[in-house]
């Protein structure tokens, strides 16, 4: 704990990461109480105030149907975070399990599992997600599905490499000599030693999932209106540049802040947990 604080104090960027992420998460959770116009998250129309530049009343200006952009950006954070958390809750256990099994068992199991993983890894992620979204309905659920499908192999790769080196450690031999089951060795002995690296990657990935989800909705394949989403906000606003600059700049900055924050936090975590690169 003392060490953690010392690292955060000695490295201002790490501290910034903590602050940014805390701010993003806090505002996403308490969006209803924080934003001036909670109802603007949905299909509200206020033509009296449409397309207004930033003012004290509307910090980020208003959109083309008069909704407060600040309120919508904050609610979009909520959607992005939920998306990120759901994607990782599915992708991480799958990826980690495959990686552990392949790394520890070796032999045929390893060959088969890792070749499948390689196939997924060889497809550019956005292309995979786009083709999946093309086949399926472009809904939020399918968006998550698409992103998840392209996310797990990275965890497999990561954990596979750790498991392969941990397998050579004496404690694995010790458990085998005692007669412990493979399940025990995989999940109780090796898995705990993968946790720091996985946790670090998850933090970094929350930022990237937000980014990729935004890219999908920018292309019209993600979250559908009227649900606020950073990617579609940027896409919609782009048609009105440079005159209505606030329509793109603020959602864009919001993406930047979140991704940047999670990256800094991930780096800090890497140092705190002592993960080797």
């Amino acid at each position: 704990m003392k060490r953690t604080l010392a690292i955060l104090v000695s490295n201002p960027l790490s501290a910034l990461g903590v602050i940014l992420v805390a701010a993003v998460v806090f505002s996403a959770i308490f969006a209803d109480f924080l934003v001036p116009f909670p109802s603007h998250r949905g299909a509200v129309v206020d033509f009296a105030n449409f397309n207004q530049p930033p003012s004290w009343q509307n910090l980020f200006g208003t959109d083309l149907v008069g909704r407060d952009l600040f309120s919508r950006v904050i609610f979009a954070y909520r959607i992005s975070l939920v998306l990120g958390v759901v994607v990782l809750t599915i992708a991480v256990p799958v990826g980690v399990t495959v990686g552990l099994v392949a790394g520890y068992l070796g032999g045929w199991t390893e060959t088969v599992l890792m070749r499948i993983t390689d196939v997924f890894l060889s497809i550019p992620p956005l292309v995979l997600a786009m083709s999946m979204m093309g086949l399926l309905e472009p809904t939020l659920t399918n968006g998550m599905l698409a992103v998840t499908a392209m996310w797990w192999p990275w965890y497999t790769r990561l954990v596979y490499n750790i498991a392969r080196s941990e397998k050579e450690e004496g404690y694995v031999l010790a458990a085998e000599v005692i007669g412990a089951s493979r399940l025990h060795v995989i999940f109780r002995e090796i898995l705990p030693n993968c946790v720091p690296a996985v946790l670090t990657k998850m933090t970094l990935d929350l930022g990237f999932v937000i980014l990729i989800a935004s890219s999908l909705s920018f292309l019209g394949l993600g979250v559908q209106p009227p649900t606020p989403d950073l990617g579609s906000m940027v896409a919609d606003g782009a048609k009105y540049l440079p005159d209505s600059w606030w329509l793109t700049v603020f959602p864009g900055l919001a993406i930047l802040v979140a991704v940047f924050g999670f990256n800094l936090l991930g780096d800090a975590l890497r140092e705190i947990l002592g993960v080797e690169q």
């Binding site: 450690e169 004496g170 404690y171 031999l173 010790a174 458990a175 085998e176 000599v177 005692i178 007669g179 412990a180 089951s181 025990h184 109780r188 002995e189 705990p192 030693n193 946790v195």
Partner: protein
């Protein structure tokens, strides 16, 4: 020491295939391990001493020969009961204890795997094991990182005891430790052997340690057992030139030891070249 051998190796060999080449790591070794003795297997790297240990433990399948425990042949794929019968203490206690699990969790594992003791009593057993290796019982909640090298090795020894096996393979158990710690660990091993009637197979390259802990010594060179004898005969009258050169190479601290080394002849020119 009774006359019945606890473990019998009968013409055991191990061949590793590397590409098209075959490497004979253990070449037709026959050896009896008597109940209650400490048998040292000494040799340098590539002598096959560790391979023999791994075959005994069932980590490697042998390429030929048979192993008998209590007169019963051990299969290549060991069942849980076979595993329980032979335990291991490794060289490096930093690696042999899982850094992410507490000392207590590591010590409980053998109890849980083999259903030793009532479930409710197992933590008590863990504490008793710690006390047996002279560590405070509350160390069970510690992580290995909070322990010194010697303390970690004590935990590793306690783990080997947990299975209540008669035979323990000690694979260079003190060579990663400082001398003061080494002396204490060796004392502990002797004490446990006496108290529990354990049989040790002590794998090492350190002949000074062997001289003071072993009853019998098997000298290995390039996969073959070149000499087997009691510790007295090996150290006063070694018959094989390799044994002599091993003893002559030990760095010593007293004049008496130097005199012993000098008497046992220095390595010949031919041996010097071979190295």
């Amino acid at each position: 020491m009774t006359a019945a051998p606890l473990l019998v190796l009968q013409s055991v060999s191990k061949v590793f295939r590397v590409g098209n080449r075959e490497i004979v790591a253990v070449d037709n070794v026959s050896l009896d391990v008597m109940k209650g003795e400490c048998l040292a297997i000494v040799g340098e790297s590539g002598s096959g001493k560790s391979t023999v240990a791994n075959i005994v433990l069932g980590i490697y399948a042998s390429s030929g020969g048979a192993i008998f425990l209590h007169g019963e042949e051990l299969p290549q794929r060991r069942a849980s009961t076979h595993r329980r019968a032979i335990q291991l203490v490794q060289q490096n206690p930093l690696s042999s204890l899982n850094p992410k699990r507490t000392v207590g969790a590591s010590l409980r594992l053998p109890l849980d795997v083999h259903g030793i003791g009532e479930k409710a009593d197992r933590w008590k057993r863990v504490s008793a094991l710690l006390e047996e290796v002279h560590l405070p019982a509350d160390y069970r909640s510690r992580s290995p990182a909070a322990l010194s090298g010697g303390q970690r090795q004590r935990v590793a020894i306690a783990r080997a005891l947990a299975c209540e096996s008669e035979l323990v393979v000690l694979d260079e158990p003190t060579s990663a430790l400082d001398v003061l710690v080494q002396a204490r660990i060796l004392k502990l091993l002797k004490e446990l052997q006496r108290r529990r009637g354990l049989t040790y197979i002590f794998i090492t390259h350190d002949l000074s340690v062997v001289r003071n802990i072993a009853d019998r010594v098997a000298v290995f060179e390039k996969g073959r057992m070149v000499e087997l004898g009691t510790v007295e005969s090996i150290f006063t009258n070694p018959s094989h030139p390799y044994t002599r050169s091993l003893i002559a190479a030990v760095p010593v601290v007293t004049d008496e030891e130097q005199a012993l080394k000098d008497r046992l002849a220095r390595p010949t020119e031919e041996e010097f070249e071979r190295i």
